[in-house]
Protein backbone atom coordinates (compact mmCIF):
# COMPACT_ATOMS: atom_id res chain seq x y z
CA UNK A 1 0.00 0.00 0.00
CA UNK A 2 1.29 3.46 -0.88
CA UNK A 3 1.21 6.44 1.44
CA UNK A 4 -1.64 8.33 -0.32
CA UNK A 5 -3.91 5.30 -0.39
CA UNK A 6 -3.16 4.52 3.26
CA UNK A 7 -4.00 8.09 4.18
CA UNK A 8 -7.16 7.99 2.11
CA UNK A 9 -8.20 4.74 3.77
CA UNK A 10 -7.57 6.25 7.20
CA UNK A 11 -9.60 9.36 6.38
CA UNK A 12 -12.37 7.16 5.03
CA UNK A 13 -12.40 5.02 8.17
CA UNK A 14 -12.54 8.07 10.42
CA UNK A 15 -15.32 9.62 8.31
CA UNK A 16 -17.33 6.39 8.36
CA UNK A 17 -16.83 6.05 12.10
CA UNK A 18 -17.96 9.63 12.63
CA UNK A 19 -21.03 9.19 10.41
CA UNK A 20 -21.90 5.96 12.17
CA UNK A 21 -21.63 7.74 15.53
CA UNK A 22 -23.87 10.58 14.32
CA UNK A 23 -26.35 7.99 13.07
CA UNK A 24 -26.43 6.27 16.46
CA UNK A 25 -27.01 9.60 18.21
CA UNK A 26 -29.79 10.43 15.76
CA UNK A 27 -31.39 7.03 16.36
CA UNK A 28 -31.26 7.61 20.12
CA UNK A 29 -32.79 11.07 19.66
CA UNK A 30 -35.55 9.47 17.58
CA UNK A 31 -36.25 6.89 20.30
CA UNK A 32 -36.27 9.70 22.85
CA UNK A 33 -38.83 11.58 20.80
CA UNK A 34 -40.98 8.44 20.62
CA UNK A 35 -40.66 8.04 24.39
CA UNK A 36 -41.62 11.70 24.92
CA UNK A 37 -44.69 11.29 22.72
CA UNK A 38 -45.78 8.13 24.55
CA UNK A 39 -46.68 10.30 27.55
CA UNK A 40 -45.36 7.75 30.07
CA UNK A 41 -42.90 9.99 31.86
CA UNK A 42 -42.29 8.18 35.18
CA UNK A 43 -42.40 11.36 37.26
CA UNK A 44 -40.90 9.66 40.34
CA UNK A 45 -37.75 8.86 38.35
CA UNK A 46 -37.71 12.38 36.92
CA UNK A 47 -37.87 13.79 40.46
CA UNK A 48 -35.01 11.49 41.56
CA UNK A 49 -32.94 12.67 38.62
CA UNK A 50 -33.70 16.33 39.35
CA UNK A 51 -32.24 15.77 42.81
CA UNK A 52 -29.17 14.05 41.35
CA UNK A 53 -28.63 16.43 38.45
CA UNK A 54 -30.00 19.77 39.62
CA UNK A 55 -29.68 19.74 43.38
CA UNK A 56 -26.46 17.75 43.37
CA UNK A 57 -24.71 19.98 40.84
CA UNK A 58 -25.37 23.27 42.61
CA UNK A 59 -22.12 23.26 44.57
CA UNK A 60 -19.80 22.92 41.58
CA UNK A 61 -21.80 25.33 39.45
CA UNK A 62 -21.93 28.00 42.17
CA UNK A 63 -18.23 27.77 42.98
CA UNK A 64 -17.29 27.82 39.28
CA UNK A 65 -19.57 30.76 38.50
CA UNK A 66 -18.54 32.76 41.55
CA UNK A 67 -14.79 32.44 41.08
CA UNK A 68 -15.02 33.05 37.35
CA UNK A 69 -16.99 36.24 37.99
CA UNK A 70 -14.50 37.30 40.64
CA UNK A 71 -11.36 36.68 38.59
CA UNK A 72 -12.91 38.15 35.45
CA UNK A 73 -13.71 41.35 37.37
CA UNK A 74 -10.26 41.43 38.94
CA UNK A 75 -8.50 41.17 35.56
CA UNK A 76 -10.88 43.44 33.65
CA UNK A 77 -10.87 46.24 36.23
CA UNK A 78 -7.09 46.60 36.11
CA UNK A 79 -7.01 46.94 32.30
CA UNK A 80 -10.15 49.07 32.05
CA UNK A 81 -8.70 51.50 34.57
CA UNK A 82 -5.87 52.25 32.13
CA UNK A 83 -8.50 53.54 29.70
CA UNK A 84 -10.59 55.22 32.39
CA UNK A 85 -13.62 53.02 31.78
CA UNK A 86 -13.46 50.91 34.95
CA UNK A 87 -17.06 51.80 35.80
CA UNK A 88 -18.22 49.63 32.90
CA UNK A 89 -16.79 46.47 34.46
CA UNK A 90 -20.22 45.50 35.81
CA UNK A 91 -21.75 45.70 32.35
CA UNK A 92 -18.98 43.72 30.66
CA UNK A 93 -18.91 40.98 33.28
CA UNK A 94 -22.69 40.74 33.33
CA UNK A 95 -23.07 40.39 29.56
CA UNK A 96 -20.19 37.91 29.36
CA UNK A 97 -21.63 35.80 32.18
CA UNK A 98 -25.14 35.80 30.75
CA UNK A 99 -24.22 35.10 27.15
CA UNK A 100 -21.16 32.88 27.41
CA UNK A 101 -19.46 32.13 30.69
CA UNK A 102 -22.54 31.19 32.73
CA UNK A 103 -23.98 28.60 30.34
CA UNK A 104 -20.62 27.29 29.10
CA UNK A 105 -19.09 26.84 32.54
CA UNK A 106 -22.28 25.35 33.98
CA UNK A 107 -22.45 23.06 30.95
CA UNK A 108 -18.84 21.93 31.34
CA UNK A 109 -19.31 21.27 35.05
CA UNK A 110 -22.53 19.33 34.42
CA UNK A 111 -20.85 17.37 31.61
CA UNK A 112 -18.08 16.38 34.01
CA UNK A 113 -20.25 15.58 36.97
CA UNK A 114 -23.60 14.44 35.56
CA UNK A 115 -22.49 13.18 32.15
CA UNK A 116 -19.97 10.88 33.77
CA UNK A 117 -22.56 9.60 36.25
CA UNK A 118 -25.10 8.96 33.47
CA UNK A 119 -22.62 7.02 31.35
CA UNK A 120 -21.32 5.04 34.34
CA UNK A 121 -24.79 4.20 35.73
CA UNK A 122 -26.29 3.12 32.44
CA UNK A 123 -23.04 1.46 31.33
CA UNK A 124 -22.94 -0.64 34.51
CA UNK A 125 -26.56 -1.63 33.96
CA UNK A 126 -25.72 -2.58 30.39
CA UNK A 127 -22.77 -4.83 31.19
CA UNK A 128 -24.58 -6.51 34.10
CA UNK A 129 -27.57 -7.30 31.84
CA UNK A 130 -29.90 -4.98 33.78
CA UNK A 131 -30.72 -3.19 30.52
CA UNK A 132 -31.62 -6.55 28.95
CA UNK A 133 -33.71 -7.33 32.04
CA UNK A 134 -35.66 -4.13 31.43
CA UNK A 135 -36.27 -5.16 27.83
CA UNK A 136 -37.38 -8.63 28.90
CA UNK A 137 -39.95 -7.03 31.21
CA UNK A 138 -41.31 -5.06 28.26
CA UNK A 139 -39.72 -1.75 29.29
CA UNK A 140 -37.86 0.12 26.60
CA UNK A 141 -34.47 1.23 28.03
CA UNK A 142 -34.84 4.70 26.49
CA UNK A 143 -38.22 5.15 28.21
CA UNK A 144 -36.88 4.12 31.60
CA UNK A 145 -33.28 5.28 31.59
CA UNK A 146 -32.90 8.14 29.13
CA UNK A 147 -36.23 9.99 29.20
CA UNK A 148 -36.26 10.74 32.97
CA UNK A 149 -32.67 11.97 32.78
CA UNK A 150 -33.49 14.09 29.76
CA UNK A 151 -36.53 15.70 31.40
CA UNK A 152 -34.63 16.28 34.64
CA UNK A 153 -31.79 17.88 32.72
CA UNK A 154 -34.20 20.16 30.83
CA UNK A 155 -35.70 21.31 34.12
CA UNK A 156 -32.40 21.62 36.00
CA UNK A 157 -30.14 23.23 33.42
CA UNK A 158 -31.79 26.69 33.29
CA UNK A 159 -31.67 26.90 37.09
CA UNK A 160 -28.03 25.85 37.13
CA UNK A 161 -27.15 28.40 34.46
CA UNK A 162 -29.07 31.07 36.38
CA UNK A 163 -27.20 30.15 39.56
CA UNK A 164 -23.87 30.26 37.79
CA UNK A 165 -24.66 33.74 36.41
CA UNK A 166 -26.08 35.03 39.72
CA UNK A 167 -23.16 33.91 41.84
CA UNK A 168 -20.73 35.13 39.19
CA UNK A 169 -22.32 38.57 39.32
CA UNK A 170 -22.43 38.57 43.11
CA UNK A 171 -18.73 37.72 43.27
CA UNK A 172 -17.96 40.34 40.62
CA UNK A 173 -19.84 42.94 42.61
CA UNK A 174 -17.98 41.92 45.78
CA UNK A 175 -14.59 42.28 44.08
CA UNK A 176 -15.55 45.67 42.58
CA UNK A 177 -17.02 47.21 45.68
CA UNK A 178 -14.96 45.57 48.41
CA UNK A 179 -11.71 45.07 46.54
CA UNK A 180 -11.63 48.21 44.38
CA UNK A 181 -14.07 50.39 46.36
CA UNK A 182 -16.14 51.07 43.27
CA UNK A 183 -19.41 52.84 44.23
CA UNK A 184 -22.34 50.45 44.18
CA UNK A 185 -24.42 52.81 42.04
CA UNK A 186 -21.84 52.87 39.26
CA UNK A 187 -21.52 49.12 39.16
CA UNK A 188 -25.24 48.40 39.30
CA UNK A 189 -26.33 51.18 36.96
CA UNK A 190 -23.98 50.09 34.20
CA UNK A 191 -24.78 46.45 34.74
CA UNK A 192 -28.55 46.97 34.61
CA UNK A 193 -28.38 49.42 31.68
CA UNK A 194 -26.35 47.10 29.51
CA UNK A 195 -27.83 43.73 30.41
CA UNK A 196 -31.22 42.89 28.95
CA UNK A 197 -33.59 39.95 28.58
CA UNK A 198 -31.98 38.93 25.31
CA UNK A 199 -28.66 38.36 27.07
CA UNK A 200 -30.36 36.17 29.63
CA UNK A 201 -32.40 34.37 26.96
CA UNK A 202 -29.25 33.45 25.07
CA UNK A 203 -27.81 31.95 28.26
CA UNK A 204 -30.96 29.97 28.93
CA UNK A 205 -31.27 28.69 25.35
CA UNK A 206 -27.65 27.58 25.46
CA UNK A 207 -28.31 25.86 28.78
CA UNK A 208 -31.19 23.89 27.24
CA UNK A 209 -29.16 22.88 24.20
CA UNK A 210 -26.12 21.89 26.28
CA UNK A 211 -28.35 19.85 28.59
CA UNK A 212 -29.84 17.98 25.63
CA UNK A 213 -26.42 17.27 24.13
CA UNK A 214 -24.89 16.11 27.42
CA UNK A 215 -27.81 13.75 28.06
CA UNK A 216 -27.78 12.28 24.54
CA UNK A 217 -24.01 11.83 24.38
CA UNK A 218 -23.66 10.41 27.89
CA UNK A 219 -26.65 8.07 27.73
CA UNK A 220 -25.49 6.83 24.33
CA UNK A 221 -22.07 5.99 25.78
CA UNK A 222 -23.77 4.13 28.63
CA UNK A 223 -26.08 2.15 26.36
CA UNK A 224 -23.18 1.29 24.04
CA UNK A 225 -20.92 0.08 26.87
CA UNK A 226 -19.51 -3.43 26.62
CA UNK A 227 -16.57 -5.47 27.90
CA UNK A 228 -17.27 -5.13 31.61
CA UNK A 229 -15.74 -2.56 33.95
CA UNK A 230 -13.08 -1.53 31.43
CA UNK A 231 -15.76 -0.74 28.87
CA UNK A 232 -17.78 1.25 31.40
CA UNK A 233 -14.69 3.27 32.36
CA UNK A 234 -13.84 3.96 28.73
CA UNK A 235 -17.44 4.95 27.98
CA UNK A 236 -17.51 7.30 30.97
CA UNK A 237 -14.31 9.02 29.83
CA UNK A 238 -15.63 9.33 26.29
CA UNK A 239 -18.91 10.78 27.57
CA UNK A 240 -17.11 13.60 29.42
CA UNK A 241 -14.60 14.33 26.65
CA UNK A 242 -17.10 14.27 23.79
CA UNK A 243 -19.71 16.27 25.74
CA UNK A 244 -17.19 18.94 26.68
CA UNK A 245 -15.78 19.31 23.17
CA UNK A 246 -19.18 19.25 21.50
CA UNK A 247 -20.41 21.83 23.98
CA UNK A 248 -17.60 24.25 23.15
CA UNK A 249 -17.99 23.80 19.39
CA UNK A 250 -21.78 24.06 19.51
CA UNK A 251 -21.47 27.16 21.70
CA UNK A 252 -19.62 28.94 18.90
CA UNK A 253 -22.24 28.09 16.29
CA UNK A 254 -25.09 28.87 18.68
CA UNK A 255 -23.59 32.29 19.30
CA UNK A 256 -23.56 32.97 15.55
CA UNK A 257 -27.06 31.55 15.18
CA UNK A 258 -28.54 33.58 18.02
CA UNK A 259 -26.78 36.81 17.06
CA UNK A 260 -27.01 36.79 13.27
CA UNK A 261 -29.27 34.08 11.84
CA UNK A 262 -32.07 34.30 14.41
CA UNK A 263 -30.93 37.50 16.12
CA UNK A 264 -32.47 37.09 19.50
CA UNK A 265 -29.38 38.66 21.01
CA UNK A 266 -28.83 41.68 18.81
CA UNK A 267 -28.91 44.75 21.03
Amino acid sequence: MSFPSDLLALVGRVALHFLSYLGQLAALAGELLTALRSGVWRLRLVAQQIVAIGYGSQGVVIVTGAFTGAVFTFQTYAKFKDFGVETTVGAVVSVALCRELGPVLAGLMVAGRVGAAMAADIGTMKVTEQVDALRVMGVHPVDYLVLPRFLAMMISMPFLVAESISFGLAASYAVSSLGYQMPTAWYLTHMIDHTNMEDLSIGMIKGFVFGMLITLISCHQGLAAENGAVGVGAGTTRAVVISSLVLLVVNFFLSILLNYVFPIGTT
Binding site: D132, A133, R135, V136
Partner: protein, 261 residues
Protein backbone atom coordinates in the same frame (compact mmCIF):
# COMPACT_ATOMS: atom_id res chain seq x y z
CA UNK B 1 -48.75 -19.44 12.46
CA UNK B 2 -45.42 -20.82 11.26
CA UNK B 3 -45.52 -23.38 8.48
CA UNK B 4 -44.55 -26.95 9.40
CA UNK B 5 -40.84 -27.65 9.49
CA UNK B 6 -39.29 -30.05 7.01
CA UNK B 7 -37.83 -32.09 9.85
CA UNK B 8 -40.67 -33.77 11.75
CA UNK B 9 -38.25 -35.31 14.25
CA UNK B 10 -37.89 -31.91 15.84
CA UNK B 11 -41.56 -31.67 16.66
CA UNK B 12 -42.96 -34.30 19.03
CA UNK B 13 -46.42 -32.69 19.02
CA UNK B 14 -48.47 -30.14 17.11
CA UNK B 15 -48.85 -27.76 20.02
CA UNK B 16 -45.77 -25.71 19.13
CA UNK B 17 -45.05 -22.69 21.30
CA UNK B 18 -41.48 -21.82 20.29
CA UNK B 19 -39.85 -22.51 16.96
CA UNK B 20 -36.38 -21.69 15.67
CA UNK B 21 -35.89 -22.21 11.94
CA UNK B 22 -32.42 -22.24 10.45
CA UNK B 23 -31.16 -19.67 12.95
CA UNK B 24 -27.65 -18.46 12.23
CA UNK B 25 -25.73 -15.89 14.24
CA UNK B 26 -22.23 -14.53 13.87
CA UNK B 27 -20.32 -12.11 16.10
CA UNK B 28 -17.48 -10.63 14.07
CA UNK B 29 -15.63 -13.57 12.58
CA UNK B 30 -17.03 -16.07 15.08
CA UNK B 31 -19.96 -18.09 13.82
CA UNK B 32 -21.87 -18.90 17.01
CA UNK B 33 -25.02 -20.52 15.65
CA UNK B 34 -24.86 -22.39 12.35
CA UNK B 35 -28.46 -23.11 11.51
CA UNK B 36 -30.49 -24.15 14.54
CA UNK B 37 -33.84 -25.87 13.98
CA UNK B 38 -35.86 -26.45 17.12
CA UNK B 39 -39.47 -26.72 18.19
CA UNK B 40 -40.78 -26.55 21.70
CA UNK B 41 -44.33 -27.38 22.69
CA UNK B 42 -46.53 -25.83 25.38
CA UNK B 43 -45.57 -27.11 28.82
CA UNK B 44 -42.29 -28.67 27.72
CA UNK B 45 -39.08 -28.26 29.69
CA UNK B 46 -36.06 -28.18 27.42
CA UNK B 47 -32.60 -28.28 28.96
CA UNK B 48 -29.83 -26.94 26.75
CA UNK B 49 -26.37 -28.27 27.46
CA UNK B 50 -23.01 -27.94 25.76
CA UNK B 51 -19.50 -26.64 26.29
CA UNK B 52 -19.06 -23.03 27.39
CA UNK B 53 -19.04 -20.45 24.61
CA UNK B 54 -21.02 -22.62 22.21
CA UNK B 55 -23.96 -20.23 21.95
CA UNK B 56 -26.49 -21.67 24.43
CA UNK B 57 -27.34 -18.28 25.94
CA UNK B 58 -27.23 -16.65 22.51
CA UNK B 59 -29.77 -19.18 21.26
CA UNK B 60 -32.02 -18.54 24.26
CA UNK B 61 -31.80 -14.76 23.83
CA UNK B 62 -33.11 -15.18 20.27
CA UNK B 63 -36.35 -16.57 21.70
CA UNK B 64 -37.13 -13.38 23.58
CA UNK B 65 -35.83 -11.03 20.93
CA UNK B 66 -32.80 -9.76 22.81
CA UNK B 67 -30.69 -10.89 19.87
CA UNK B 68 -31.84 -11.08 16.27
CA UNK B 69 -30.59 -13.81 13.93
CA UNK B 70 -28.46 -13.03 10.91
CA UNK B 71 -30.41 -15.69 9.06
CA UNK B 72 -33.41 -17.82 9.92
CA UNK B 73 -36.60 -17.17 11.83
CA UNK B 74 -37.83 -17.33 15.41
CA UNK B 75 -41.49 -17.79 16.29
CA UNK B 76 -43.11 -17.57 19.72
CA UNK B 77 -46.75 -18.58 19.91
CA UNK B 78 -47.08 -17.88 16.22
CA UNK B 79 -45.49 -14.42 16.41
CA UNK B 80 -42.51 -13.82 14.16
CA UNK B 81 -40.03 -12.49 16.75
CA UNK B 82 -37.27 -11.29 14.45
CA UNK B 83 -39.73 -9.35 12.29
CA UNK B 84 -40.77 -7.20 15.24
CA UNK B 85 -39.20 -3.91 16.29
CA UNK B 86 -38.15 -3.39 19.91
CA UNK B 87 -41.31 -1.45 20.76
CA UNK B 88 -43.48 -4.18 19.20
CA UNK B 89 -42.09 -6.95 21.41
CA UNK B 90 -44.47 -6.33 24.34
CA UNK B 91 -46.86 -9.23 23.52
CA UNK B 92 -43.95 -11.68 23.40
CA UNK B 93 -42.36 -10.37 26.56
CA UNK B 94 -45.69 -10.70 28.34
CA UNK B 95 -45.67 -14.41 27.48
CA UNK B 96 -41.97 -15.08 28.04
CA UNK B 97 -39.78 -14.02 30.96
CA UNK B 98 -36.16 -14.74 31.68
CA UNK B 99 -33.78 -15.37 34.53
CA UNK B 100 -30.33 -14.00 33.72
CA UNK B 101 -27.12 -15.75 34.67
CA UNK B 102 -26.12 -12.96 37.09
CA UNK B 103 -29.79 -12.37 38.06
CA UNK B 104 -29.57 -8.78 36.66
CA UNK B 105 -31.30 -7.25 39.67
CA UNK B 106 -31.61 -3.47 39.83
CA UNK B 107 -29.06 -2.29 42.40
CA UNK B 108 -31.08 0.75 43.47
CA UNK B 109 -34.20 -1.28 44.32
CA UNK B 110 -34.83 -3.59 47.27
CA UNK B 111 -35.62 -7.27 46.78
CA UNK B 112 -39.33 -6.47 47.16
CA UNK B 113 -39.17 -3.59 44.66
CA UNK B 114 -37.20 -5.72 42.19
CA UNK B 115 -39.79 -8.48 42.30
CA UNK B 116 -42.68 -6.00 42.09
CA UNK B 117 -41.12 -4.25 39.08
CA UNK B 118 -42.77 -6.30 36.29
CA UNK B 119 -46.19 -5.94 37.90
CA UNK B 120 -45.88 -2.17 38.25
CA UNK B 121 -44.54 -1.78 34.73
CA UNK B 122 -47.45 -3.80 33.38
CA UNK B 123 -49.81 -1.32 34.97
CA UNK B 124 -50.89 -3.00 38.22
CA UNK B 125 -51.59 -0.19 40.71
CA UNK B 126 -53.28 -1.99 43.63
CA UNK B 127 -50.54 -1.85 46.28
CA UNK B 128 -52.09 -4.60 48.41
CA UNK B 129 -52.34 -6.94 45.44
CA UNK B 130 -48.76 -6.15 44.41
CA UNK B 131 -47.48 -6.85 47.92
CA UNK B 132 -49.48 -10.07 48.19
CA UNK B 133 -48.10 -11.39 44.93
CA UNK B 134 -44.55 -10.27 45.72
CA UNK B 135 -44.61 -12.04 49.10
CA UNK B 136 -46.10 -15.14 47.46
CA UNK B 137 -43.27 -15.20 44.90
CA UNK B 138 -40.64 -14.55 47.58
CA UNK B 139 -42.04 -17.32 49.76
CA UNK B 140 -41.76 -19.68 46.78
CA UNK B 141 -38.01 -19.05 46.73
CA UNK B 142 -37.71 -18.80 50.51
CA UNK B 143 -36.73 -15.13 50.53
CA UNK B 144 -39.71 -13.49 52.23
CA UNK B 145 -37.54 -12.60 55.23
CA UNK B 146 -35.16 -10.62 53.03
CA UNK B 147 -37.66 -8.45 51.15
CA UNK B 148 -36.24 -5.19 52.48
CA UNK B 149 -32.62 -5.90 51.53
CA UNK B 150 -30.76 -4.43 48.57
CA UNK B 151 -29.09 -6.78 46.03
CA UNK B 152 -25.60 -5.80 47.22
CA UNK B 153 -26.45 -7.33 50.61
CA UNK B 154 -27.46 -10.69 49.14
CA UNK B 155 -25.38 -13.78 48.45
CA UNK B 156 -25.09 -15.08 44.87
CA UNK B 157 -27.70 -17.76 45.51
CA UNK B 158 -30.13 -15.28 47.07
CA UNK B 159 -29.72 -12.96 44.09
CA UNK B 160 -30.50 -15.83 41.78
CA UNK B 161 -33.59 -16.76 43.77
CA UNK B 162 -34.73 -13.13 43.69
CA UNK B 163 -34.27 -13.20 39.92
CA UNK B 164 -36.43 -16.33 39.77
CA UNK B 165 -39.12 -14.66 41.91
CA UNK B 166 -39.09 -11.72 39.49
CA UNK B 167 -39.31 -14.08 36.51
CA UNK B 168 -42.27 -16.05 37.86
CA UNK B 169 -44.31 -13.23 39.41
CA UNK B 170 -45.90 -12.19 36.14
CA UNK B 171 -47.19 -15.74 35.55
CA UNK B 172 -45.62 -15.92 32.12
CA UNK B 173 -46.40 -18.85 29.85
CA UNK B 174 -42.71 -19.47 29.31
CA UNK B 175 -39.63 -18.90 31.44
CA UNK B 176 -36.07 -18.95 30.13
CA UNK B 177 -33.45 -19.81 32.73
CA UNK B 178 -29.80 -19.01 32.08
CA UNK B 179 -27.80 -21.29 34.38
CA UNK B 180 -30.22 -21.18 37.33
CA UNK B 181 -28.09 -23.58 39.39
CA UNK B 182 -24.67 -22.08 38.89
CA UNK B 183 -23.06 -20.92 42.12
CA UNK B 184 -25.66 -22.67 44.27
CA UNK B 185 -25.00 -25.38 46.84
CA UNK B 186 -26.65 -28.78 46.16
CA UNK B 187 -29.64 -28.00 48.38
CA UNK B 188 -30.14 -24.56 46.85
CA UNK B 189 -29.84 -26.17 43.44
CA UNK B 190 -32.48 -28.78 44.34
CA UNK B 191 -34.85 -26.04 45.58
CA UNK B 192 -34.59 -24.37 42.17
CA UNK B 193 -35.16 -27.67 40.36
CA UNK B 194 -38.24 -28.40 42.45
CA UNK B 195 -39.56 -24.94 41.76
CA UNK B 196 -39.12 -25.34 38.01
CA UNK B 197 -40.94 -28.68 38.18
CA UNK B 198 -43.72 -27.13 40.27
CA UNK B 199 -44.14 -24.29 37.77
CA UNK B 200 -44.40 -26.83 34.97
CA UNK B 201 -46.89 -29.07 36.79
CA UNK B 202 -49.10 -26.39 38.39
CA UNK B 203 -49.20 -23.79 35.65
CA UNK B 204 -48.01 -25.70 32.58
CA UNK B 205 -45.14 -23.28 32.15
CA UNK B 206 -42.90 -23.92 29.18
CA UNK B 207 -39.21 -23.68 30.11
CA UNK B 208 -35.87 -23.50 28.42
CA UNK B 209 -32.99 -24.04 30.83
CA UNK B 210 -29.38 -23.50 29.94
CA UNK B 211 -27.38 -25.48 32.45
CA UNK B 212 -24.19 -27.35 33.17
CA UNK B 213 -25.75 -29.30 36.04
CA UNK B 214 -26.07 -32.85 34.70
CA UNK B 215 -27.96 -34.11 37.77
CA UNK B 216 -30.48 -31.37 37.31
CA UNK B 217 -31.26 -32.09 33.65
CA UNK B 218 -32.26 -35.65 34.34
CA UNK B 219 -34.63 -34.44 37.08
CA UNK B 220 -36.41 -31.67 35.23
CA UNK B 221 -36.03 -32.00 31.48
CA UNK B 222 -38.68 -33.39 29.20
CA UNK B 223 -36.19 -32.97 26.36
CA UNK B 224 -32.51 -32.16 26.21
CA UNK B 225 -30.61 -30.35 23.47
CA UNK B 226 -26.84 -30.29 23.19
CA UNK B 227 -25.22 -27.45 21.29
CA UNK B 228 -21.82 -28.23 19.90
CA UNK B 229 -19.84 -26.01 17.53
CA UNK B 230 -22.90 -23.93 16.73
CA UNK B 231 -25.12 -26.86 15.81
CA UNK B 232 -27.59 -29.08 17.62
CA UNK B 233 -25.55 -32.19 18.27
CA UNK B 234 -28.29 -33.95 20.18
CA UNK B 235 -32.01 -33.46 20.73
CA UNK B 236 -34.03 -36.01 22.62
CA UNK B 237 -35.46 -37.21 25.89
CA UNK B 238 -33.34 -37.89 29.00
CA UNK B 239 -33.60 -41.62 28.32
CA UNK B 240 -32.39 -41.12 24.76
CA UNK B 241 -29.50 -39.06 26.09
CA UNK B 242 -28.48 -41.84 28.48
CA UNK B 243 -28.63 -44.34 25.65
CA UNK B 244 -26.84 -42.27 23.04
CA UNK B 245 -23.79 -43.73 21.37
CA UNK B 246 -22.57 -40.31 20.20
CA UNK B 247 -19.10 -40.15 21.69
CA UNK B 248 -19.00 -36.36 22.00
CA UNK B 249 -22.36 -36.22 23.76
CA UNK B 250 -21.47 -39.18 25.94
CA UNK B 251 -18.12 -37.63 26.94
CA UNK B 252 -19.74 -34.30 27.70
CA UNK B 253 -22.40 -35.61 30.05
CA UNK B 254 -19.83 -37.75 31.79
CA UNK B 255 -17.45 -34.82 32.18
CA UNK B 256 -14.63 -36.21 30.08
CA UNK B 257 -12.34 -33.52 28.69
CA UNK B 258 -11.95 -35.02 25.20
CA UNK B 259 -15.37 -33.58 24.34
CA UNK B 260 -13.79 -30.70 22.47
CA UNK B 261 -11.64 -32.91 20.20
Amino acid sequence: MPAPTSNPALAPADDVFIELRGVKKRFGTQEVLRGIDLKLCHGETLCVIGPSGEGKTVMMKHVIGLIKPDEGDVFVDGMHVNALKEREMAPIRKKVSMLFQGAALFDNLTVEENVAFPLIERGLRDKKEIRRRVMEALQAVDLDQHAHKYPTNLSGGMKKRTGIARAIIDRSECILYDEPNSGLDPIGSDIIDQMILRMQKRFGVTSIIVTHDMRSIFKIASRIAMLYRGELRFLGTPDELRATDDEIVHNFINGRSDVTC
